[in-house]
Amino acid sequence: MSSLNPSIYNLPSSPLPTNSHPTSTLDEQQETESLISTLFALLPPPTSDADGQTTSLRKQEHVQFLASTFFKLPGKFVSLDASRPWLVFWTVHSLDLLGVALDQGTKDRVVSTLLKFLSPSGGFAGGPSNSQLPHLLPTYASVCSLAISGHSGPGGGWEDLKDARQGIYDFFMDCKKADGGFVVCKGGEVDVRGTYCLLVVATLLDILTPELLHNVDKFISACQTYEGGFACSQFAFSSPASDEDNLFVRASMAEAHGGYTSCSLNSYFLLSSIPLSTSFPAKIDAEAALRWSVLQQGEAIEGGGFRGRTNKLVDGCYSWWVGGGIPVCEELIKRDKKVGSQGKKSKIEAVDEGDKEEDWVDEIPTPPLFNRVALQEFTLIAAQQDAGGSGGLRDKPGKRPDQYHTCNNLSGLSIAQHSMKHSSSVVSANRVKFDSSKGLPPIIPRSADGGWTSEEERQNARREVWANSLGWVEDESQECVVGGKGNRINTTTPVFNILGLRLKPFINYFYGQQE
C-alpha cells in the first residue's frame, strides 16, 4: 500500500525540468514550487518528527472559520449574494465531513432559509425567490443542503420538496435545449455544471423522464477533449444528416478542466445508471479520463495537490474536482468491461438477470489510482490556513481561505482517506429489495410521448437509478488516514458529494423505500 502511495517526504523534490526554455508558465510553476516546498520544509510533517512535533488537521479552527460566516457575513460577500445556497452547502457539508452536528434550531433555520429560495414556479434561486430567478446550480446546493439539514415530517423541508417535484421538473424542461444542453437559468449560459446539478436533483427526487434525458448523453460525450478530461461545454453544428440522432456535428468548447471534468464524469455515471435504450448513453473514453485525471496530480515539490488543467498550478479545490472523479472513472471503466464481456446483450436484459458472475468484479483488488497519501499531505501542509489564524482551507499558500475551498479541500481529503467503490453486489441486493409499489406520483411529462413508454419501463428505471445511487460502499480495509485517527474525517459519496448517511434516508424518502 505505502509503496503505491509514496509520501512527499520520501520522494525527490525535483523541480519541473526547464528544458532551457523559459516561458511564463514555467515562471509561475517555479514560484508555486518554491512557495509550497518552503512550507513543507518549515512545518512539522503530519506524522511526528524527531521532536515529536506534527502538523494535524486543525478541525476546531476550521469549524470556527465556518461558524464565523454562517450567521452573519460582512458586506464584501455581496459578490456571493446570488450564491447563498452554496454558502449554506459549503458550510453544512464541511461540518458533516468534520463530524460536527448542528443543533436542531440551526437546522430549522437552514431549512426555512432555503425554502425562501424555492421559486413558486419551480427550482431554487441564489437568494430569496422574491429577488432572484431559479437557477440550476443553487437548486443542487439547496437540495443537497436540505438532504443534510432537513428531515421528513413537518418543518423538515422534505415535504415541501415533495410538493415541488412537478414544478422543479417543469423548470428543468424550461432549461432544456435541443442539443442536449441546459441553460442554467432563463436567458443564462449552457454548460456541464448545469447538467450535473440538474441530474443529481432529478435522480434524488425521482423525476427523470426520457424527454428530460434526450440528447443529454451526447452533449456530455461531446465535451470530452483530446486530452481525456472534459471542457465546459460543446457546440452543436447543424448538419444536413437526416438521421435524427446524429443531427449535429459537435465540438468541445475549450480545454479539459477539473471542475467540468467532475461535472461530466458524475453526470455520465448518473446517465449510465438509467436503462433508457441500448445505445444510451453515448460513449465516452473513461480510460482517457482516468489518465488525464491522474496526470493532474502535482509532483512532490508542489506537495502532491491536483491542478485543474495541464500546465496550470495546483489548487486545493481540485482535490475534490479531480480526485473525486477518480473512483467514478474506475467504476465507468468497470462498466465498459462488463458490457464488453457480455457482448451485445442489452443492458436491460443484463439488469434483470442479476447474475452471480457479476460478483467477481467486486473481488479484484485495484491499486490506488492516485497518490492518496500525498494528497492528504498537500491538504494538511499547504491547504490549511496557517495555525492560529482564521482557520479554513485555501487554494495554496499565500491565498485566503474561503468556504468554497474549505468544502472542496475537505471533500477531496475524504476521497483520499476512504476507498470508495461502486459495488455490483450491493446494487444487485438493492434491486431485490426495491419495492416498486411504493413511491410518489409519476411526473407529468411536457409532451404526450415524453414519458416512459410503459409503467414497467418506468419502474425498471426507478429501480436501477435507486439501486445504483446507493451502490457506493467503502472498502474499510483500505482506509488510509495520514497523521493518525485524529485527522480522520467522514466519508463522502462520490458523484453526489454528501455523506452516505445523508444520501440514504433522503433518496429513500422520494422513492418510498424503507431503510
Partner: protein, 338 residues
C-alpha cells in the same frame, strides 16, 4: 464606485423614483448566511424588486441594473433583466458592448459578463466579426489562460461559422495567431486546445484530409523544443487516438527520451521523415521523460509485447514517476493480465 454611506442619497429621495414603492427582500425570520448589505446595494435591490415585479422596461431600469451589476457582477437575475430590457427598448447594443469592454477588464472570471457579451454578439450579428475577434485576442494578452475568454473565442468562431461569416483567410489568420501564442509560451495548454479546434475539431478542418502529417510534425517539433511539456505529449496522443493511428511508426521520433541503452535501439529507417530530437538535447532535460516511457509502453502493447510493456510500466511505478505509482501499477497489471 462604492459610495460612503453618509453621502449616499437613497432612491426614495430622488425624484426619478418617487412613484415606485420599494419591495424588501423576503428572507424570512432568522435566515442563515445573511449578508450585511451596504445601504446602496439594499436600496437598489429594493427598487429592482419593485420594477421587476411590475415588469417595467425603462431607462431608469437600465440604470438601476447597471448600478447593481457594478456592485455584484454575479447577479444573474439582474443581468437577465437588463438584457430583456435592452432588447425591448431597442437600445444600441454596440454601446452596451463598449460598456462590457470596461466590465470584462474588471471581471475576467465572471460567467455573466461573458454570457452577456455572447448574447450581444448574437443580437448584433455583424456581417464580419473581425472586430470582436481582435478584441478577444487583445484581452488574452495580459491573461493568456483565461478559461472564459477561450471558451468565448471557441463560441465566436463556431457561431459565425454556422452563419457563413468566417472566411478562409480568417481561419488561416487565426491559426497563425494561435501559433504565435504557442511560440511565446509552448506550455500554454489553452492555446493547444485552440489549435485542436482549428486543426481537427471544427467542421472543415484540414487535418483529416491531407494535413495530418504536418500536424504530427508540428507537435513532434514542439516536444523536441520542450521535452517535458505535458501539453505537447497530450496533443500528440490525442491526434493518434482521434485518427486511430498506431503509435509504433512514430516511436523513432521520441525514443531518445526513453533513455533505453543504445544497443537495444533499432536503427532509424532511412525513409523516416518525422522530426527527431535535437542533438544534443536541450539543457536540463533529465532522462527518461516519463511520458516517453508511457508512449513506449503503449507502443509495445500495440505490438503485442505486453510483458515488455509491463516492465516499462513497472519502471514508471517504482523509479521514474513514483507520484503515480498506483496508476502505473494498474496499467502494468492491465497489460500483463489480459
Amino acid at each position: 464606485m462604492s459610495v460612503a454611506t453618509s453621502s449616499y442619497i437613497p432612491l426614495a429621495e430622488r425624484n426619478l423614483w418617487n412613484d415606485v414603492k420599494p419591495i424588501a427582500q423576503d428572507d424570512g425570520p432568522n435566515p442563515v448566511v445573511p449578508i450585511m448589505y451596504s445601504e446602496e446595494y439594499r436600496d437598489a435591490m429594493d427598487y429592482f424588486r419593485a420594477i421587476a415585479a411590475a415588469e417595467e422596461r425603462s431607462e431608469r431600469a437600465l440604470e438601476l441594473t447597471e448600478t447593481i451589476i457594478r456592485m455584484n457582477p454575479a447577479h444573474y437575475t439582474v443581468w437577465q433583466y437588463r438584457m430583456t430590457t435592452l432588447l425591448e427598448l431597442k437600445k444600441d447594443l454596440e454601446e452596451e458592448l463598449q460598456l462590457m469592454n470596461e466590465f470584462a477588464i474588471q471581471n475576467l472570471k465572471s460567467y455573466q459578463v461573458w454570457h452577456h457579451r455572447l448574447l450581444l454578439l448574437t443580437h448584433i450579428s455583424p456581417q464580419d466579426p473581425s472586430f470582436e475577434i481582435e478584441y478577444i485576442h487583445q484581452s488574452l494578452l495580459p491573461d493568456p489562460k483565461n478559461y472564459h475568454t477561450w471558451a468565448y473565442l471557441h463560441w465566436l468562431y463556431s457561431h459565425f461559422y454556422t452563419l457563413g461569416r468566417i472566411s478562409e483567410k480568417q481561419w488561416q489568420d487565426e491559426l497563425r495567431w494561435c501559433e504565435e501564442m504557442l511560440r511565446v509560451d509552448g506550455r500554454n495548454n489553452s492555446a493547444w486546445g485552440w489549435r485542436w479546434y482549428l486543426r481537427v475539431a471544427r467542421p472543415g478542418a484540414e487535418t483529416a484530409k491531407d494535413g495530418l502529417k504536418d500536424e504530427l510534425n508540428y507537435v513532434l517539433k514542439s516536444i523536441h523544443l520542450i521535452p517535458h511539456n505535458v501539453s505537447a505529449w497530450n496533443y500528440l496522443r490525442g491526434l493518434l487516438r482521434h485518427f486511430k493511428l498506431p503509435l509504433t511508426p512514430l516511436l523513432f521520433a521520441i525514443l531518445p527520451y526513453t533513455a533505453r541503452p543504445s544497443s537495444t535501439l533499432p536503427e532509424i529507417p532511412q525513409d523516416f521523415d518525422f522530426a527527431t530530437p535535437s542533438v544534443p538535447l536541450p539543457n536540463d532535460t533529465p532522462l527518461p521523460v516519463p511520458l516517453a516511457l508511457e508512449y513506449l509502453a503503449d507502443a509495445l502493447i500495440e505490438q503485442g509485447s505486453n510483458a515488455e510493456a509491463g516492465e516499462v510500466f513497472s519502471e514508471l511505478s517504482t523509479q521514474y514517476d513514483k507520484m503515480r505509482a498506483g496508476y502505473w501499477e494498474y496499467r502494468r497489471r492491465e497489460c500483463v493480465e489480459e
